[in-house]
């Protein structure tokens, strides 16, 4: 069987795969999860950029510093009774001239549950080892790299700032609650402390990890019935060859190369 060999060194692989990564369609997901003590619902969109490619024989494409840039809308409810002290207006007495002393009753309040919606975004970075995946699907050969191992997610420096954004989103609905004034600053601090950086990354990690762990980056796609030459007049029709087999591997000679081998027949 005749074969065609195509080889791509690491420099070429970086160029090709960087473009391939950028062409991966944006991913989106909705659901709910635990944000510290709260149950938060979210919608997240993410796309991928960057990464430096390292080819490792015999079949690993390692991408360092692969970044997922994401935007999220987060909604959750806060039962303020969980954070604020039990509060009562004390009995109040006034002396009314010519009438006497009149007293109001003690009135105990319950704090409301407030809803908070926070839009924010950041990026997360990871390194991943991809395997080579070759498949004939619907009459087309497809070569893609598929995540096999993923390092721990490294959140960007903006992640800590998300807590400040949550604090800013909480404050306006708190301001309109009667009698909360003296407790306001403490309430915001307590709520943010309850979430914490750990709570935030613990929330974001399980949401964003599947984006990265399920990543498939297309490298090559070609019809099995491959048009080698186009028609050139009525007596010179299209010329096709069959791509009978496709193989992809990393070979190490002087340098590491991504090698595609295509077996063809007339």
């Amino acid at each position: 069987m005749a074969q065609i060999l195509a080889a791509l060194d690491e420099g070429g692989a970086n160029t090709v795969l960087t473009e391939a990564i950028a062409s991966v369609p944006a991913l989106s997901k909705s659901g709910s999860g635990s944000l510290g003590p709260f149950t938060a619902s979210y919608t997240v969109h993410g796309h991928f950029t960057g990464g430096s490619i390292d080819l490792v024989a015999p079949a690993t494409v390692r991408i360092e510093h692969l970044r997922c840039v994401w935007q999220m809308a987060l909604s959750f409810g806060i039962d303020l009774d969980d954070f604020l002290p039990h509060f009562c207006l004390p009995q109040v007495c006034v002396h009314i001239p010519c009438v006497g002393r009149v007293c109001t009753p003690k009135i105990c309040l319950s704090w409301p549950t407030i809803g908070v919606t926070v839009p924010f975004g950041d990026d997360v970075e990871a390194s991943a080892d991809f395997g080579l995946d070759v498949a004939l699907i619907g009459g087309q050969w497809k070569v893609q790299i598929v995540v096999q191992n993923l390092s721990q997610l490294q959140f960007g420096p903006g992640t800590a700032g998300i807590l400040a954004l949550i604090g800013a989103a909480i404050t306006p609905p708190l301001l309109v609650i009667p009698f909360i004034g003296p407790f306001l600053a403490g309430a915001v601090d307590l709520i943010l402390a309850a979430i914490g950086i750990a709570g935030l990354t613990g929330f974001l990690g399980p949401i964003l990890s599947p984006f990265l762990s399920g990543l498939k980056i297309p490298v090559y796609a070609q019809d099995k019935h491959f048009k080698l030459l186009p028609a050139d007049g009525p007596f010179d029709p299209d010329v096709f060859v069959e791509l009978d087999a496709v193989d992809a591997r990393i070979e190490h000679s002087d340098e590491d190369e991504l090698v595609l081998t295509v077996g063809i027949s007339p």
Binding site: L89, P90, Q91, V92, C93, V94, H95, I96, P97, C98, V99, G100, R101, V102, C103, T104, P105, I107, C108, L109, S110, W111, P112, I114, P173, V176, I177, P178, F179, I180, G181, P182, F183, A185, G186
Partner: protein
């Protein structure tokens, strides 16, 4: 408790409001507690207040006893205990429903010689102000009586600050309304403090947050839940 902007209206009492009425003559007086959803139509039998002569030595009105009537909002109705109350001439009855979930309500005499919606003589309305700001009020019935309550913000950074604030809350500001005059016209309190509006003699007024009147351009009642 629902998060809401702090407004007040003696015609639509809420959990941080009280309405008080003195009874200066003997007799049996019927009244209703109406939620604002009832639009003035009583769905329950009237409660009664029986006013008997004073047993003490003082002259009528010289001394008095306060009778508090706590209201409960249950199964879509206001309940009070006791249903029949016996008091002495000159005594004051004070109503309050401390349930934040209860709708706004009014106390209406039957016949309506006394009512929280139209404050006449020897009665009072209290409101605890929960949010800082300046609150201009006016009589929604058009007497021209008005005033302002300035509510200062309180910042509590320490436990001591909180304790001092709690002590302030136990002191109320008094506004006397008599013979077409409001004294003082302006009062200053801190967040959470109560203002007692004592109506000594009046033709029938309300103490209504001016924003409610401005919202509807009329008597503002539709703006109150």
């Amino acid at each position: 408790m629902n998060a809401s902007i702090d407004t007040f209206d003696s015609r639509a009492l809420r959990y941080v409001d009280c309405y008080g009425q003195r009874f200066m003559r003997e007799g049996t007086y019927r009244y209703h507690v109406l939620s604002c959803r009832e639009q003035g139509l009583a769905s329950q039998p009237a409660r009664t207040i029986k006013v008997v002569p004073r047993s003490g030595e003082g002259k009528n009105g010289a001394t008095m006893t306060q009778h508090s009537v706590p209201l409960r909002w249950t199964r879509g109705r206001f309940a009070s205990s006791p249903v029949e109350l016996e008091i002495e001439v000159g005594d004051l009855v004070l109503w309050n429903c401390p349930d934040p979930a209860a709708p706004a309500y009014e106390i209406v005499g039957d016949p309506a010689f006394f009512a929280s919606t139209r404050l006449v003589n020897e009665c009072g309305f209290t409101h605890a102000f929960g949010t800082p700001g300046s609150y201009a009020w006016a009589d929604a019935h058009g007497s021209g009586l008005e005033g302002t309550v300035h509510v200062k913000e309180v910042a509590c950074k320490t436990r001591g600050d909180l304790e001092r604030w709690q002590q302030q809350l136990a002191q109320a500001a008094l506004v006397m309304i008599a013979d077409g005059k409001v004294r003082p016209h302006e009062v200053e309190i801190v967040t959470g403090q109560t203002v007692y509006f004592a109506i000594v003699t009046c033709g029938g007024i309300s103490i209504t947050d001016k924003r409610l009147l401005d919202e509807r351009g009329g008597d503002g009642r539709a703006a109150v839940r």
